[in-house]
């Protein structure tokens, strides 16, 4: 293996050169440019895979899926910042599935460091390892990585496009490129002559792209400032196209019913009743499920329900209790990882008070507002695919497999996502839609799942149990020894995506638990993998979603055992360990006017989680209204280093918090006879207008590296609420959902 220094140097050099050419970082064999996925037509110049200019205008390609996080707007702003176009002059499209759009930031996240403590060297190593994303075709929207990933690459794309257009203008005007400037989609000559980019596109296509330095942040016009979201008017007028809105000539509509005993097969079925129902065109045997193609979605849903199916059993214990017994069994085996092992946790130091607690959280569904939906058209050995998905290259591969086609024979069109939260990083719904469309060649078929089908066939946030032991002395935490047990969604997801069994230490299992910035001298965290076959996957904030609850509820318990204010207790352990984290706690203390005291009938809780590179602190206030508890107010402070669009970051922060609070209050997936018991929103509810708190968000910018925004708002919400309920009632929330033990407003 070459020295790390050499790889870093080459990556840095090649990185910027390759970016200008429309590709990415490179090491060794990945140095060659990935093929440009945009085949420019006559009169167009594809300057690189992120910008397309023709006579009609400028189109920017945002290679990440817009699932509500505002990425479409911010990616466009990154390009426009260097390209000198007005945001309202350009069209922004989702990029097609292509290796050139790999996610370099996501792989960097996989390194076994804690994140907040990374040195510059490790940070660069993370960047260098990003090339692996390209090898694996990791065009993924997830892990709150979009901005970390796009920050440099998009601006380089814009800068290169600008300089190349200037060169084309220079040739035409017979002047030196350096004498030219750019403004609002035009090259401007010293004598005031203006030539539109659209006029220069053809000439620019004949030139080698030119590399240019990035502008100093002091010159930014868009970045760091809030932009009107480019998808907002569409979404306020019902004109935004989601997967379920794709309409094609001659289209048919389908719905599926897969084995509710997840992973079990199908012994047989009787579809005689369904076949004679109105509008039904075809029943499709999917091997472990059935589908009906009809003239509209509702007729298809009704007919598919009318099929009498004999299902095989599930490959896991059929009842929730037995499933959690299996999770507890994992504690008896060796840990899969011990990512933190500081000092000595073997003995509780003399004079210290020992605290132990066991926590448990349920399986959770994603419950995106738009149920799983995709459209496919199979004809002449090609497949066209439309859907909202977080990983177009994987989708393309899997859909091609299902159709028995080469990946090049599949076009993936990414629509807006009616919620992602990790669910649309899976490809099961695309594969099923493809198999169904194969049954009707030449006809576009849209497959929409019922809400019940969606909720009962998810890749769930795994249920998890934690056993925590700690010690406090002289008002300080001096020992934390924690173990968490759950299924590994990483191992399962790797297996689904690559076909190879995932293995090795799973950082995700313990994230949010091992890597929190508290200076506790004796600190050990182990992860135990439960051997269960329930489908599990990435749910907004992933491992942090349960570990944040475990860690921060336990911190609260330790603070109380130490007789300390829970906010001050945390702050003291954090100040020297990670200043930006402490800054978040100080901010919510000030915003909420935290005194550690609350009047009768009011409770307040604080929690903190460092995840996806972003520390987030939250204070939540609950009120008792005649015996019914309402979440009244929330204060959030985050520090993601550089906030490219502050108002959008605020929306992500409070949205992430609401998602977490919904789960904390009401979210629970349970099993009976091998089937998920919840089917629709009445039994899997979420916060609503009257149960959602008022919220105030502060965005700090002191962190050294850019953090994520989409997920870090979720983890601290659950413990902050639990801690507030403790403050109000004196009853400690050690299990979720909270509506089982507290009389919450519904």
């Amino acid at each position: 293996m070459a020295s790390i220094g050499k790889i870093l140097r080459r990556t840095f050099l090649i990185g910027s050169a390759a970016i200008v050419g429309g590709v990415a970082f490179g090491v060794y064999y990945v140095r060659r440019p990935a093929p440009n996925p945009l085949s420019p037509g006559e009169g167009e110049a594809a300057l690189n895979p992120f910008v397309l200019i023709d006579r009609n205008g400028v189109t920017l390609f945002a290679p990440r899926a817009e699932m509500g996080q505002g990425v479409k707007t911010t990616w466009a702003a990154l390009i426009a910042e260097e390209l000198d176009v007005e945001l309202d002059q350009v069209t922004v499209l989702h990029g097609p599935a292509a290796a050139a759009y790999y996610n370099s930031a996501m792989i960097g996240e996989g390194l076994p460091n804690k994140g907040y403590d990374v040195s510059n060297f490790q940070h660069n190593l993370g960047e260098a390892l990003g090339v692996i994303g390209k090898v694996l075709s990791l065009q993924v929207t997830g892990g709150s990585t979009s901005m970390k990933d796009g920050f440099e690459r998009m601006r380089h794309a814009g800068a290169s496009a600008r300089e190349t257009l200037k060169q084309a203008a220079a040739g035409r005007l017979g002047v030196d490129r350096l004498q030219l400037t750019t403004e609002a989609g035009h090259v401007v000559a010293p004598d005031g002559t203006r030539i539109a980019y659209t006029e220069l596109a053809e000439d620019a296509a004949k030139l080698e792209p030119i590399e240019a330095d990035l502008r100093d942040p002091s010159e930014w016009r868009y970045l760091g400032k809030t932009q009107p979201r480019l998808d907002m008017v569409e979404k306020a007028t019902g004109t935004a196209e989601f997967a379920i809105d794709v309409r094609l000539p001659g289209m048919k509509f389908a719905s599926v019913r897969m084995n509710p005993k997840l992973g079990g097969g199908m012994n047989g079925y009787d579809d005689s009743a369904a076949r004679s129902m109105p509008g039904v065109e075809k029943v499709v045997d999917l091997g472990n499920g059935v589908a009906v193609i009809a003239s509209n979605t509702w007729l298809a849903m009704r007919a598919v329900e009318a099929i009498d199916v004999d299902w095989e059993d599930a490959p896991y214990p059929p009842e929730t209790q037995a499933i959690f017994a299996k999770i507890a069994e994992a504690f008896d085996a060796d840990p899969n990882s011990t990512m933190r092992d500081d000092g000595d946790v073997g003995v509780t130091p003399e004079g210290a008070t020992e605290i132990t607690a066991e926590y448990s959280v349920p399986y959770l569904a994603h419950a995106t507002m738009e149920p799983m939906t995709a459209t496919a058209l199979y004809s002449d050995g090609r497949l066209e695919f439309w859907g909202g998905n977080q990983a177009p290259t994987f989708m393309q591969m899997k859909v091609a497999d299902a159709a028995g086609l080469a990946t090049e024979a599949v076009d993936v069109h990414t629509t807006y996502l009616g919620g992602g939260f990790g669910r649309r990083g899976e490809f099961d719904f695309g594969v099923l839609a493809t198999k169904i469309a194969l049954a009707m060649p030449g006809v576009p078929v849209q497959t929409t799942w019922s809400r019940e089908e969606d909720m009962r066939h998810d890749f769930y946030r795994p249920g998890a149990t934690a056993r925590m032991r700690g010690a406090v002395k002289d008002g300080k935490a001096i020992l934390i020894d924690g173990k968490v047990a759950s299924q590994s969604c990483t191992h399962q997801a790797v297996e689904r995506m690559t076909g190879m069994g995932g293995g090795g230490p799973d950082k995700v299992l313990v994230e949010g638990l091992f890597n929190q910035p508290y200076a506790v001298p004796n600190y050990r965290i182990s992860g135990h993998i439960a051997d269960l076959q329930i489908p599990v996957g990435f749910w907004r904030s992933v491992g942090n979603s349960h570990n944040g609850f475990f860690h921060e509820t336990f911190m609260d318990e330790m603070a109380h055992a130490a007789g300390r204010d829970p906010l001050e207790f945390r702050l003291e352990l954090m100040r020297d360990e990670h200043a930006p984290s402490a800054g978040c706690l100080e901010a919510v203390r000030e915003m909420s006017g935290w005194t550690g005291k609350t009047p009768n009938g009011v409770g307040r809780g604080v929690a903190f989680t460092y995840s996806f590179g972003t520390p987030v602190a939250q204070v939540i206030e609950v009120v008792d209204e005649n015996g019914v508890i309402r979440i009244n107010k929330a204060w959030i402070a985050c520090d993601m280093g550089l906030a490219l669009d502050p108002e959008n970051v605020k929306a992500q922060m409070f949205g992430g918090m609401m998602y977490g609070l919904s789960a904390a209050c009401y979210g629970e997936i349970t099993f009976a006879e091998g089937e998920v018991e919840q089917g629709n929103f009445p039994d899997y509810d979420a916060l609503r207008m009257h149960t959602a708190p008022e919220v105030e968000v502060r965005v700090l910018e002191t962190n050294r590296f850019m953090g994520g925004a989409g997920e870090p708002g979720t983890p601290p919400s659950m413990p902050a609420l639990g801690n507030a309920l403790f403050d109000l009632t004196g009853k400690r929330a050690r299990t979720l959902p909270l509506n089982q033990n507290f009389n919450l407003l519904v």
């Binding site: 509500g68 996080q69 505002g70 009107p228 979201r229 998808d231 907002m232 008017v233 569409e234 979404k235 306020a236 007028t237 019902g238 004109t239 935004a240 989601f242 379920i244 809105d245 309409r247 109105p278 509008g279 003239s295 509209n296 979605t297 509702w298 007729l299 419950a367 995106t368 507002m369 738009e370 149920p371 807006y416 996502l417 009616g418 919620g419 992602g420 939260f421 929409t448 809400r451 929306a651 992500q652 409070f654 949205g655 992430g656 918090m657 609401m658 998602y659 919904s662 629709n680 929103f681 009445p682 979420a686 916060l687 609503r688 207008m689 009257h690 149960t691 959602a692 008022e694 919220v695």
Partner: protein
């Protein structure tokens, strides 16, 4: 037998079984996809439309029961000519994934038509049937207050 429906001021003849819900008539037959499917059991509000000005869950209204003129999100305003409510949604940058927002806007528009200056409690009551998994509620509330103020000026 074909059923005659008036939707956004236009008459449509629909030849479908009586029990097909209005939601699917709008989406799959007429091609008005702004109205969304979320749950099919009137628990999320994504499919909210107006019938004679009243906000209803179109997933629960069979074709044969459509008792009046239907207005969908497409009939409230267009990208070129947005209604005051839609403009307030844009001003407050409400939407995230955006999937539930057609239903939210239809519910809010019906509220404001009946009650031009709703209090927070009245907003809570009117909007609690509309689910948003992205948690955009604070901005929805603010947008309703803004739309109310704008409509008062007009």
């Amino acid at each position: 037998m074909a059923t005659s429906l008036t939707i956004n001021g236009k008459t449509h003849q629909v030849d479908l079984p009586d029990d097909v819900p209005l939601l699917w008539v709008l989406r799959d037959e007429i091609g008005l996809t702004g109205t969304k499917f979320g749950c099919g059991v009137a628990a999320c509000g994504a499919c909210t439309v107006h019938i004679d000005g009243e906000a209803v869950r179109s997933c629960q209204v069979p074709l044969s029961d459509v008792w009046g003129e239907v207005t969908t999100i497409e009939g409230v305003g267009t990208p070129e000519a947005m209604s005051a409510v839609q403009q307030a949604w844009v001003d407050h940058q409400v939407a995230q994934c955006g999937y539930c927002q057609s239903g939210q806007i239809m519910q809010a528009a019906a509220l404001l038509a009946a009650n031009p200056a709703p209090t927070d409690t009245e907003i809570d009551e009117a909007m609690q049937g509309n689910l948003c998994r992205c948690g955009t509620y604070p901005r929805i509330r603010a947008a309703i207050h803004t739309a109310s103020a704008k409509m008062k000026e007009a």
